[in-house]
């Protein structure tokens, strides 16, 4: 049967040789190589659930009066967008589940991307010849972050309205072009009716299409260049060792897809996310404290909260205080990330193609720097929730902010120093371990080579 189907396709597409090559493609076995797949499969979940949601969401700011099963908003004036979300949550079978899964999938998608980027960064997988994929991957991260923001902003509840307004203020703060850019993007002075339809179009079509194309490119390049591998006996820059795609790797990968789906479904079932009905419809006069973005943008929000209120003028022109933490900081951060392969080349004087990764401790400086940056981002992330922490711990938000303003410098420095020390320690231990192994090997009169049986 398989042969007959194969023959049918092969006679039309000449597929036998490529198919055979594909089935025998070698993919290395290591759990950290599956982190990107978590992101990939979360994206699949996002597409599936998002398609469902798009059939019900109405991206319009037309005003209407809600009458529906959620009686605490019965008779309240709201936008059509918000009304359609309420209908989705309370009136559509499985609607709430799908919406919650979509939101959780978004959080996990970006979380998995971050973990994946961290793995690439700490193992030096961005080195030649994989710089292109590093840049594509970072672009995917930027697209994912912006699409998260769009999705968060279109629902028409008080929280998303606050988010949209803060985003507008950030864009407005860019020197010289800020006002034009903000009016171009938001379509006027926020809140304005055209923003939600526009963001909806970006959220469900433009950005996902761009993500899909870049994702295909990302995977295509991995296929072409083949995967990296961890150092070890028999691991060289000229070979790749692992399992073949068929059948073991296929089974594992599809299994992971189901597990990603399962975890997202479990979160969607058990943990309530973004309860828009509690926040109420957006009203430009009303506001709520604790208006945070989702976690992946919270680092920017945290920077905005910790940055001091300073007025900076260029001649008669104002550079608003929001610009530095809200725009300049994230832009610089991503520029540094994009340029990091060059920086690495510069400090290691190494421009050779690499297929074997380097352990984090082999580059103590890079590892320490990376950990310090992660700690920095984490403190900013906490700072974005400083008011929530203040309420939960019963302390003053002013105190907490003061502590965080100190921690934001101290914690990364301490982390960097500790990690640097750990790297040096590990490097010594590794060197000693290798020496001992060499001694015992020579004592037995054997040579270490890739042919030796390896036991863990």
């Amino acid at each position: 049967m398989i042969r007959r189907i194969g023959r049918w396709f092969d006679s039309r597409l000449h597929l036998a040789q490529p198919a055979r090559e594909a089935l025998n493609h070698v993919f290395p076995d290591h759990w950290s190589f599956m982190l990107g797949e978590i992101a990939l499969y979360s994206f699949v979940v996002l597409i599936i659930t998002g398609s469902f949601l798009a059939m019900f969401f109405n991206g319009s700011t037309a005003h209407l009066i809600y009458h529906g099963p959620y009686r605490a908003l019965d008779g309240v004036e709201m936008s059509a967008a918000y009304q359609s979300v309420l209908h989705l949550c309370f009136g559509v079978p499985a609607g709430l589940l799908i919406r919650q899964m979509h939101h959780w999938a978004a959080l996990i998608f970006i979380g998995a991307i971050v973990v994946h980027v961290a793995r690439i960064f700490f193992t030096g997988a961005f080195r030649r010849p994989r710089e292109i994929n590093w840049w594509i991957g970072l672009t995917l991260l930027v697209l994912a972050l912006s699409n998260g923001y769009f999705g968060y902003s279109i629902l028409g509840d008080l929280l998303s309205g606050a988010g949209m307004r803060i985003g507008y203020s950030m864009m407005l703060s860019i020197p010289i072009i800020g006002p034009w850019l903000a009016f171009l993007f938001f379509g006027g002075r926020v809140p304005v009716d055209v923003t939600i339809p526009r963001m909806y179009g970006l959220h469900i079509f433009v950005v996902p299409a761009a993500i899909s194309v870049l994702l295909a490119l990302h995977l295509g390049i991995i296929w072409r260049q083949k995967h990296t591998n961890y150092p070890g006996p028999g691991r060289t820059d000229h070979t790749i060792t692992g399992s073949r795609i068929w059948p073991t790797y296929t089974a594992k990968s599809i299994g992971l897809f189901f597990l990603v789906f399962a975890v997202i479904a479990a979160l969607g079932a058990l943990v309530q996310i973004d309860p828009v009905w509690i926040y109420g419809p957006y009203d430009p006069i009303a506001i709520l404290p604790g208006a945070q973005p989702d976690w992946y943008l919270a680092w920017v929000e945290g920077a905005m909260r910790l940055f001091p209120g300073v007025n900076i003028y260029l001649g008669p022109y104002l550079i608003p205080e929001v610009f530095f933490p809200g725009i300049l900081f994230p832009v610089l951060f991503f520029i540094v990330l994009y340029l990091y392969p060059f920086f690495d080349k510069f400090i290691t004087h190494d421009n050779q193609p690499h297929h074997v990764l380097r352990h984090p401790y082999e580059q103590p400086f890079q590892t320490a720097l990376g950990c310090a940056v992660f700690m920095f981002l984490f403190v900013l992330f906490v700072a974005a929730g400083d008011d929530v922490i203040a309420v939960a711990t019963g302390t003053s938000v002013v105190t907490i902010r003061l502590i965080l303003r100190i921690l934001v410098f101290v914690a990364p420095a301490v982390t960097g120093i500790i990690v640097y020390g750990l790297c040096i320690l590990s490097r010594h231990r590794h060197a000693r371990g290798l020496e001992r192994a060499l001694e015992s090997a020579s004592a037995e009169g054997r040579l270490i080579s890739g042919e030796n049986e390896v036991t863990q």
Partner: protein, 344 residues
């Protein structure tokens, strides 16, 4: 309700069992080692694609025990997955709650996923394979030939430098056409960005369209007001507070802006544009709940804490002959978050 709890308890038991099985997998207590050495799997050193998959090279004795175990485990998880899937269908068609619906969905998918992975662990030979990585850089002659082909083709195009120039110009025009389309998305920044709705003589109205008189508030009270005829205008929203007159420390040029201790400030934060909704009468501070900036109303809403850097624009006030509060002019600056060229 008890039925639901019962069902959940059963699900919990399933979950626990799954975890127990998973733990056994991770700790590897079941089955025996059967790693195939790389030398065995890789075959000859010249790395051909394997010439087809021949029978398992392992000893039958080790395999059968593992296989029996594995088959049992895979079957268990598949049964769980199918049962949970049927449960999902039942709950979906009977409009069950979100927890059960999502819980069965999650269990069903988890069952399938775990089954596939157990299958790969127990019922597939784990062969380590090695493949060569060809150098990505092509040989010199290949690159040379490609470049030559390109140049030869380019030579075949009859050269007309004027035409080439026009092609470039055409591309430029195309780009300009596409970029210009962005105009449709924008909106003119003037006058919207610089707009101040308030003008001299406008009465202060509350959200329910009542005028505010000099007797409306006690010292320490506050209310949100709008210009007459623009109730609900988010850009013109203003917070009116009353303080004891003797505490006022306004700049000298604003001395007559606060009749009887009434002060009016823009309610849009100068930091990120959130409504500055709260007035606290003991400290005389206005607070923006978004980023916790505070503004002292006594000194002209100068920021006293938080990330905001500029004071809230103040609206001069006066009381007319009937004792109603009216705007004595425009805001002292453009309300809302700061921007380049926004500080006149």
């Amino acid at each position: 309700m008890s039925e639901g709890e019962d069902r959940e308890a059963r699900k919990g038991a399933w979950l626990l069992m799954m975890f127990a099985l998973g733990w056994r997998m991770v700790t590897g207590r079941s089955g025996k080692s059967r790693r195939v050495t790389s030398a065995e799997a890789a075959g000859p050193r010249d790395f051909p694609l394997p010439s087809g998959r021949d029978a398992d090279t392992e000893t039958q004795a080790v395999t059968s025990g593992r296989e029996r175990w594995g088959t049992l485990l895979v079957a268990c998880s598949l049964i769980a997955a199918i049962a949970a899937g049927i449960g999902f269908l039942f709950i979906y068609w009977t409009d069950g709650g979100n927890k059960l619906l999502g819980g069965t969905l999650a269990l069903s998918f988890a069952g399938f996923g775990i089954a596939l992975i157990l299958w790969s662990h127990f019922l597939m030979a784990h062969r380590e394979a090695t493949e060569p990585l060809e150098p990505l850089l092509s040989p010199e002659e290949d690159r040379q030939t490609a470049a030559d082909d390109f140049c030869a083709g380019a030579r075949d195009v009859k050269r007309r430098s004027l035409l080439k120039l026009m092609i470039v110009a055409g591309a430029g025009v195309f780009a300009a056409m596409f970029v210009s389309l962005l105009r449709s998305f924008g909106a003119p920044i003037e006058p919207a960005l610089y707009q101040i709705v308030w003008s001299r003589g406008q009465r202060l109205m509350t959200a329910d369209n009542k005028p505010v008189s000099i007797h409306s508030l006690k010292p320490g009270d506050s209310v949100t007001v709008f210009p007459e005829g623009s109730i609900g205008n988010d850009h013109a929203q203003t917070v009116l507070v009353r303080v004891k007159e003797q505490f006022l420390r306004l700049p000298a040029d604003r001395a007559d802006w606060a009749p009887m201790g009434y002060l009016a400030y823009s309610r849009v934060c100068t930091h990120a544009g959130c409504p500055v909704g709260m007035f606290e009468s003991q400290t005389n501070l206005l607070l923006c709940p978004c980023h916790q900036s505070t503004f002292n109303v006594l000194t002209g809403a100068e920021p006293t804490g938080g990330p905001a850097a500029r004071p809230l624009p103040q609206l001069p006030l006066y009381a007319d002959s009937e004792g109603l509060l009216r705007a004595g002019g425009r805001f002292s600056s453009i309300p809302g978050p700061g921007f380049w060229g926004g500080q006149q």
